[in-house]
Amino acid sequence: MKKRTKYIAAAAGAVVIATLAAPSALAQPVDTARIEAGGPNDWLTYHGSYKSYNYSSLDQINSNNVSDLSVAWIHIPGRSTRGLQSMPLAADGVLYYTGSYSRTFALNGATGEVIWSYFPELDEALISRQTHSPYNRGVAIGEGKVFVGTMDGRLIALDMKTGKPVWDTKLIDSQKLTVGFTGAPLYAKGIVIIGAQGGEWPGRGPIFGVDAATGTKKWEFLTVAGTDEAMKTWGADSWRTGGGGGWMPGTYDSETGTIWWGTANPAPLYDWSGSDYKTQGARPGDNLYTSSVIGLDIDTGKLKFYHQELPHDTWDFDSAVGEFVMLDRDGQKLVVHPNKSGYIFVYDRSANLKNVWRITQNSNFVRDIDPKTGELIGRRDFSAGKVDEPLCPHISGGVSFNSGSYNPKTGLYYKLGQEWCMTLTVQKTTPITAPQAQLNLGADFKIAPPPGGEIYGHLDARDPVTGAKKWEVRFPEPPLASVLSTGGNLVFVPDSRGVVHAYNAETGAELWSHSDGTGHQGGIISYSANGKQYIAVVAGFGGMATDDYAPTFGGVYKSMPRDDGALVVYSLK
C-alpha cells in the first residue's frame, strides 16, 4: 500500500509539472520506488529504470511523424577531451548529464537553459598519467542529489536543485593506483554504488556502496580475490597483478535486495599459459571474480551469487560492459546480459544460466559456449609468440560498453554487434604489481578485418532470450553508441560517422536520419518536458575504441575531432 501511494504521488506531480514554466518546481523526490516504476516522462537511472530496458514508452514521436523531427536545442559542455560518452538522465523536465572531467550540468529540458553547472577541481597531474581518461559516463540521482564519480577516485553528491556539493568522499587512492571512476553510479535504497576502473591495471577492482545521505562508505567488494574461495583461483599470488573492477553501472533487483554488477578482465590481458591455464602462465586459475556477473547484498556488499562468464579470460572480454535486462517471460524472471565478447547470457534472478547466444558473425576466441552449462568449448589459450589465426572479435569487443534497448511492445532486443578482428603476438612480460607504467597487456596487436571480409557493424532486432533474429541493419563502420527504442515504434541508432538514424522497430526500415556533425559513442534517451517529447543524444568522438577509426577507416574520421562534443536534443517541429 505504501509503495502504491508513492506511485500515485509521483503521477500527480508529473501532471502539475506539465503546466509549469520551471519544470522541477513541484517535483516529487526521486527515490527507489520511482526509479523502479520508470515513469514515462523521466529517465531516472543510467539504463532508464532498474529493468534496464533503455526504452521510453513515450509515443508522441512515432513512426508516422518522425520525419518531422528536428533539433530543438544544443548544449556545449566544453573541454570534451576524448569526446562525450555519458548517458543523460531526466527528472521532472530537467536534464542532468556529464562531460569529460566530470563536468556536470542541470539543464531545462525544454529550452536547454543552464540551471546549474558543477566543475569539480581534479588532480590534473594524475589525470595526465591516466590512459582510460578523462571521459565520464554519467550521473545517478536520488534523495534530492546528483551523484558523480571522478577520475581521481572520489564520489561527489550535488544538491539536485542548486548543484552545490553536499558531500565529497575519497574512495580510491588514485594517486597510488592510477585508476579512478569513469562509470556512472547507481542509486538504490539509500545507497550509491560505483565501481572502479580495473582491467589492465594492477589492483583489486573494488565496487563501493556509499550512504547517499552522508557520503559514508558502507561497504566495499573486491572483484579480485574478494573471498577465500576466489583467492584460491589466483595461482602464484597473481592476485597482486589483479585487474577486475566494475567500470560500468549494474542494476538493482528490489525483490531480492540484490545489486547486479558486471566485472572486468584480469591482467595481463593476454596470458602465455597455453592450454594448461589452471597451473601455468601469468595468473594460473580461473581468476575469480573477473569477467563475471555478481550479485551483492545491497545493505552489506556481501556476495550472494555469481556466474563467471569467461573463466580465466585471456582475451579482454569484460562482463563490466552490458546492461542487465530484467524480463518476465512465461512466468520466469530472467536477466539478459551481453558480454563484451558478443555472447549474450540469459540468467534467472540468481545468475543460474538459462541460455547463451551470440550476436557476432566473426568469433573464434572460443568455438562456442555451452548454452546449458556455460562451458567455453574450444577455447584458444595462447602460448608466447605470434598467434597464427587472427583473434576475433577485436579487443574493442563484439559489443561496445554502450547499451542495447529492449522494447516491451515489440518484444525485441535491439543491440549493436561489431565485426572486427586483430593480429597479435603474445609476449611473456614481467608481472606488474604497481602501476608505474600503468597497463599490463601481455601482447603486441593490431586491428584486422575478419577473415575473407571487411570490418562492419550491425543493428540486430532479436528475441532477447533465444537470440532469434527478426531483422538486421548493417553499417560500414561499427556504431559504438547506445541504442534507444520507444513506444512510438522507433529505434534510434547514433552512428560513428555522426548520423542519428531512426528505424521502424517492427521492420527495420529507415524512417529518418540527421547529422550531429561528429561521431557518437555515448548515450541516447527520451523524456518529456512540459508535455512534449524530446530525444537527447550526446555527440563527440575519441577514446580507446574510437581512436582506431581514423587509421583504420580514413574518410570522415581523419578530420573528426577527438576533443569536442555536444548534447543535441530533438523534438517534432
Partner: protein, 119 residues
C-alpha cells in the same frame, strides 16, 4: 618453489620501483626521474616488453603500425620531441610517463623505436 619465494622472485623488483611512482603528484619531472633512477635497474629495462605491456595498446604491433596512436617505426620526429612526449604526454592522446621512467630508460625506448623493422 613455494609461492612466497616465487612471489619474491617475481614481484620484489617491481615493488622496489614503486617508490618512484609513489612520488607526490605534481613533483617536477626531473626530480621524479632522479628518484626513479635511484630505484630502478636500468640494465634490465626491456623496451620491447614495455610495448607488450603498455605502449602497444595504442602504438600497434610493437610500434610498427599506426593504431590509436601514430606508427613509431621510421618516425621523422626528433629525439627531443619524443623525449618530451614520453615525459609530458598530450592531453587526451597520450599519458605522461615522466614519473615512470628514468632518462636512461627513455633513451632505451628511443633506441628501440629507431631500431624497429617490419615483421
Amino acid at each position: 618453489m613455494g609461492s612466497i619465494a616465487l612471489w619474491r622472485r617475481l614481484y620484489v623488483p617491481a615493488l622496489a620501483s614503486m617508490g618512484a611512482l609513489a612520488a607526490p603528484v605534481g613533483a617536477g619531472i626531473p626530480a621524479a626521474a632522479q628518484q626513479a633512477a635511484a630505484t630502478t635497474n636500468d640494465s634490465t629495462f626491456d623496451p620491447a616488453q614495455l610495448f607488450a605491456s603498455t605502449c602497444g595498446f595504442c602504438h600497434s604491433n610493437g610500434g610498427r603500425s599506426a593504431g590509436k596512436a601514430p606508427q613509431l617505426m621510421n618516425t621523422a620526429r626528433s629525439d627531443e620531441f619524443i623525449i618530451n612526449r614520453i615525459k609530458n604526454g598530450k592531453e587526451g592522446r597520450m599519458p605522461a610517463f615522466g614519473q615512470a621512467f628514468t632518462d636512461a630508460q627513455i633513451a632505451a625506448i628511443i633506441k628501440y623505436i629507431r631500431s624497429l623493422k617490419p615483421e
